[in-house]
């Protein structure tokens, strides 16, 4: 048999039919939805007079719009309230399971799906949200879709997709102190640019990837969309299986044994060919931070912003526009610059390990007086776990407060908006203009770098504190 990549193995067994000169009809095993990108899909379906083909394969949560304080109260902002209510009504009408506000399983869609054991190796998964790539950490083909495609999945449990090309990114070697999986992915994006993997589905491999925990792997796959990739994936291994075992919706007993047997087959064959291969060395990666307005504009935290003439000529206009927005100078250093806001959270870094590493840095120290910090767990379960471990106390003693779960300042659809002109060190995934609020200036970094900024009040190399 011809050697195959992990991607091919999963994709090929989900093709219902290949259309001549067109996309494949791809069967979808798991569909997540949330309040922002689903309402028009439900309306479309109802207009056609069509039922959901498999309501049991779709799971819903409310996360994008919801406040991170006072969740027991009605949502203040009228439009958000309507959107969340619309989701609730749609799910009731169509028999879709909803982990809505205040449900013990509520949280950011890409945090709950994985922690509940609903994202399993070998699956195809979609959600009307680009960071669906997160679930690829389990050896799944998971990607974001638009609302028309959400409607397609409702109607037919399938989407139409041209098969993407395949890329493998291998990271060998060991990470240095203070360097996390967030730094790996920020480094890779800085190397290949925000569009460097457009048209590709990426498999991450190598010693440094294997050494990561499940949650750290999710951070890497989460941001694969930030280099333009259709999605990212990591072959399942013992780390994956150990993480899944015993999770709420993971298979149990005999079913677990059968599943495990199949999951162990899920890897790229030795001689399989990728359309593109890249390799990086973990030793070269330091704690990273972004200085510009796309995630590819990253540097080592103790490095300098590139000089204008080192940027390709045709990209210079965008580069200048970016620095103007950030009010940074080409060639200057970021270390020591004052920070106004710190945001720990999002589907990139809102999991329990992220809270733990933030708490480890701030433990016994004090929040810098010039910093406003928002610590937002990714889900109710993450919040519960943090409290069970006493992380909330450590944070409180250091002058921080644990908020309630949601997307929060990652996209600032709720009240958590970074004010105009303010600098935020954020553990989220996008530093686009206005992403965290109109005029907000975002610098993406790891939870360690965020914690270091939170206690020193300025950009600091976390290696000095850990």
């Amino acid at each position: 048999m011809e050697p195959k990549t992990l991607f091919d193995k999963i994709w090929d067994r989900h093709v219902v039919e290949s259309i001549e000169g067109g996309p494949d009809i791809l069967y979808i095993d798991r569909h997540y939805i949330h309040e922002v990108t689903s309402p028009q899909a439900f309306t479309g379906l109802e207009k056609r007079g069509v039922q959901l083909m498999h309501p049991e394969k779709t799971v819903a949560t409310a996360d994008h719009n919801i406040p991170t304080k006072g969740q027991h109260l009605p949502i203040q902002e009228a439009l958000s309230r309507v959107q969340v209510k619309t989701l609730t009504e749609n799910c009731e009408r169509h028999g879709v399971t909803l982990y809505g506000l205040n449900h013990p399983y509520n949280g950011i869609v890409h945090v709950i799906g994985t922690e509940l054991g609903m994202s399993l190796p070998g699956m195809t998964m979609v959600c009307g949200d680009s960071h669906t790539s997160t679930h690829g950490a389990f050896g799944t083909i998971a990607f974001g879709i638009g609302t028309s495609e959400v409607e397609m999945v409702f109607a037919s449990q399938c989407v139409l997709q041209p098969k993407p090309k395949k890329m493998r990114i291998t990271i060998d070697g060991k990470l240095q102190k203070g360097v996390t999986s967030k730094d790996i992915i920020l480094y890779v994006i800085a190397q290949i640019s925000a569009s460097g993997a457009t048209g590709y589905f990426v498999e991450f491999a190598g010693e440094a990837i294997r050494a990561l925990s499940m949650e750290a792997r999710m951070t890497v796959c989460n941001m694969s969309i930030e280099m333009g990739a259709r999605g990212g994936m990591i072959a399942p291994d013992e780390v994956t299986f150990a993480y899944l075992k015993g999770r709420e919706f993971a298979p149990k007993g005999k079913e677990w044994d059968t599943a495990l047997e199949q999951w162990k087959q899920l890897k790229t064959d030795e001689d399989a060919v990728f359309d593109k291969e890249l390799a990086f060395s973990a030793q070269d990666i330091g704690p990273m931070i972004t200085y510009g307005t796309n995630p590819g504009m990253g540097i080592a935290v103790d490095g300098n912003i590139p000089q204008l003439d080192s940027v390709p000529e045709k990209a210079q206009a965008s580069f200048k526009k970016s620095l103007q927005y950030m009010d940074f100078e080409a060639g200057s250093a970021l270390m020591g610059r004052p920070v106004d806001y710190v945001f720990l959270g999002s589907c990139t870094n809102g999991r329990i390990e992220d809270l733990r590493s933030f708490a480890a840095v701030v433990r016994g120290k004090q929040k810098a007086p010039n910093v406003t910090a928002w610590i937002v767990p990714g889900s109710q379960q993450v919040a519960k776990q943090a409290i069970a471990e006493g992380l909330d106390k450590i944070l409180e003693e250091a002058g921080f407060e644990l908020r309630e779960p949601g997307c929060s300042a990652c996209l600032a659809m709720n009240e958590d908006k970074i004010p105009e002109g303010k600098y935020a060190v954020s553990t989220s995934n996008r530093n686009f203009e206005g992403r965290q609020g109109p005029g907000a200036r975002t610098m993406l970094a790891s939870p360690l770098t965020a914690a270091a900024a939170a206690v020193t009040g300025k950009i600091t190399n976390p290696a000095e504190l850990v």
């Binding site: 067109g22 996309p23 095993d29 457009t198 796309n294 686009f432």
Partner: protein, 201 residues
């Protein structure tokens, strides 16, 4: 439901020579709270189009009456970032029928095609040519011929563009994917029976 048909479009253009235009710029997240598809054009490029005091930013091209038309010509990697289909809805609602760029983000491209908005990917050299022509002569009419898969400038220079045959026929005929998938229901059911699904959910 049907898709707006697309055949041959001849129009003046609006130039936006900015790279990496992300969907957060096309339609900022705070305007995603509607539960219908209509009206997003009003907030297209909101934070570039309006000043902080909500007066129109006269420096932004959509507020410059020199330029008009239903073709947007933009820098490379257009539509990166969020999967929000609202970006395609906003462009269409505003009146655009085609976007010309040297590179499109994947999800945006799908979303655009699913809404009758044609993404026309050209070489960097040709993009520059179009931008130059439009910026030099705002009355320049560009012709986008979907059946021939050709984009042509008034001086006769042209370039072929790619689109997969299935999507092309959808746009030419105004068919939409969901009708197509619904017509395949038996096949899908057959697949479900045939494939020993790894997991029963």
């Amino acid at each position: 439901m049907s898709l707006p048909k697309f055949n041959i479009l001849k129009s003046t253009c609006i130039p936006l020579p900015v790279e990496n235009v992300d969907t957060d710029q096309i339609i900022p997240a705070r305007f995603l709270k509607a539960t219908s598809r209509e009206g997003f054009g009003e907030n297209l490029f909101r934070d570039w189009r309006y000043n902080k005091d909500q007066s129109p930013n006269t420096e932004f091209v959509l507020n410059n009456s020199t330029y008009s038309g239903s073709i947007l010509v933009a820098g490379m990697n257009f539509g990166s970032g969020s999967s929000r289909e609202h970006a395609a809805w906003a462009l269409f609602d505003y009146g655009f029928r085609a976007v010309v760029s040297s590179f499109f983000a994947d999800i945006f491209k799908n979303n655009a095609l699913n809404n009758g908005l044609l993404p026309v990917q050209v070489s960097e050299a040709f993009l520059e040519k179009v931008l130059k022509a439009v910026q030099g002569h705002p009355e320049t009419e560009v012709r986008i011929d979907l059946p021939q898969q050709l984009i042509t400038l008034p001086d006769g220079s042209s370039e072929a563009f790619e689109i997969n045959a299935y999507k092309k026929s959808c746009l030419l005929n105004g068919f939409d994917d969901i009708d197509f998938l619904l017509s395949k229901k038996d096949k899908i059911k057959e697949y479900e029976l045939k494939t020993a699904m790894l997991y029963e959910t």
